[in-house]
Symmetry: C2
Subunit: 253 residues, 2 copies
């Protein structure tokens, strides 16, 4: 089932997607339909999460670690390498994202995102996926030059608009058996099975929850596969996780 | 004037401190008193901020950069080195903070914190302090071993309870002419004038606002002076910024 968050008549609501192009709002986030049906074209779609924090895995596909120039031979990371993005980064599908004037190297990184549904503290790997409300498409925009030169990855990863997310949350996906794809101007640039993740989603959530309480609405980005690259003003970027569907698409301006 | 955030009878409110030990609640955050007066001892004091993000300066006092082992000669950083803490770190003065079992090196870092009062985007340095609601005491707890070994500083800086903050917000402080002091078990460990900051508070806020929109309630930590060091279970840590007063005090358990 696919959930959406939207604004209609000034009011932010959640709803279920019915068929291809209708949405029925929910009375509460736990899912009871309210009875009305809206055509999706009448709604302003919003990112399907309201996180207090956004936790990201920096290196989770071996081929992406290699392309970033990190030699590791047999030494894959022993623990997930994490970083934060701040909530000011969130924009919906359809947004125009400004290419900042302080970077010369804005890169796309398509990813699978998990949105947390219940407070998760010290959860085991075997139960971790039960704390996920659903999965969606994410574009982890990155100022690669500042990622290299700054003390930490905050400007590189947390500038305004640097996390297009959505538009739908799929509640029934198997995050270990799907495919992440990224296109730039309709050219396929990234394509990888999530089976290739070094740390599966459940292990990441369990690991994070040992030091940081995850709250409903928090977002976990699961890392990007190889094929990252630079963007130019005017580019259209599309990310679609198989099974989530309803591609995320933004334009860089 | 000193503002507080507190819970009374299950309801979270803001108020003004009257004299030493009374609080008058506000009708709204912009300051109109509601008429009642509460003895402060009847209130559960909360961190005086509800941030969507917490932005921190990593290296803002030359003597602390030296003690961390970074040689720099004449080369002070040209731009503030920033990192994020996540909101799960916030705890009030009086809290007991758990020494995590995954670190061997929990350090205190006493700091001056600024709490943002108005949305700040691309603000100039000369007007930046006008976006501050007030100033308070902060303890930036840090897992020094994980800061060195992890990919980024998230576990080192953003574990649950790693940001004791408060208890009062002083609205009329000059952040460029005060003194930050930290005690461990009543022994003075850090003492430095904020005049020694490499990047004054106004410059930090202006710099951040060029890539990240600051929202009301957001917190800016301004860096720690020299004198940081390890904590043990049972230690009491106290931070007091001169002019803010009402020391922040927590116990490590």
């Amino acid at each position: 089932m696919k959930m959406l968050r939207f604004r209609k008549d000034g009011r932010v609501q959640w709803g279920w997607l019915m068929g291809e192009d209708h949405v029925t709002p929910m009375r509460k986030l736990d899912g009871e339909p309210a009875g009305e049906v809206y055509p999706i074209r009448e709604l302003e779609l919003l990112p399907p999460a309201e996180p207090s924090k956004i936790v990201c895995v920096g290196r989770n596909y071996a081929d992406h670690i290699k392309e970033m120039g990190h030699a590791f031979g047999e030494d894959l990371p022993a623990e997930p390498g994490l970083f934060l993005k701040a909530p000011n980064t969130l924009v919906p599908s359809g947004a125009e994202v400004t290419y900042p004037d302080w970077t010369e190297e804005l890169h796309y990184e398509g990813e699978l995102a998990a949105v947390i549904g219940q407070t998760a503290r010290n959860v085991g790997e075997e139960e971790a996926l039960g704390y996920v409300l659903g999965y969606t498409n994410a574009l982890d925009l990155t100022a690669r030059d500042k990622q290299k030169s700054d003390l930490q990855w905050i400007r590189a990863k947390s500038a305004d608009g640097f996390l297009p997310l959505g538009p739908v949350l799929e509640t029934e996906l198997d995050p270990n058996a799907t495919v992440v794809r990224t296109w730039v101007n309709d050219e396929l640039r990234q394509e990888a099975s999530t089976e290739l993740m070094i740390f599966p989603v459940a292990r990441v959530i369990s690991y994070v929850s040992r030091f940081m309480t995850l709250e409903p609405g928090d977002v976990v980005l699961t890392g990007t596969p190889s094929g990252v690259g630079p963007l130019a003003r005017g580019d259209r970027v599309r990310v679609e996780v198989e099974g989530v569907g309803r591609a995320l698409e933004v334009r860089i301006v």
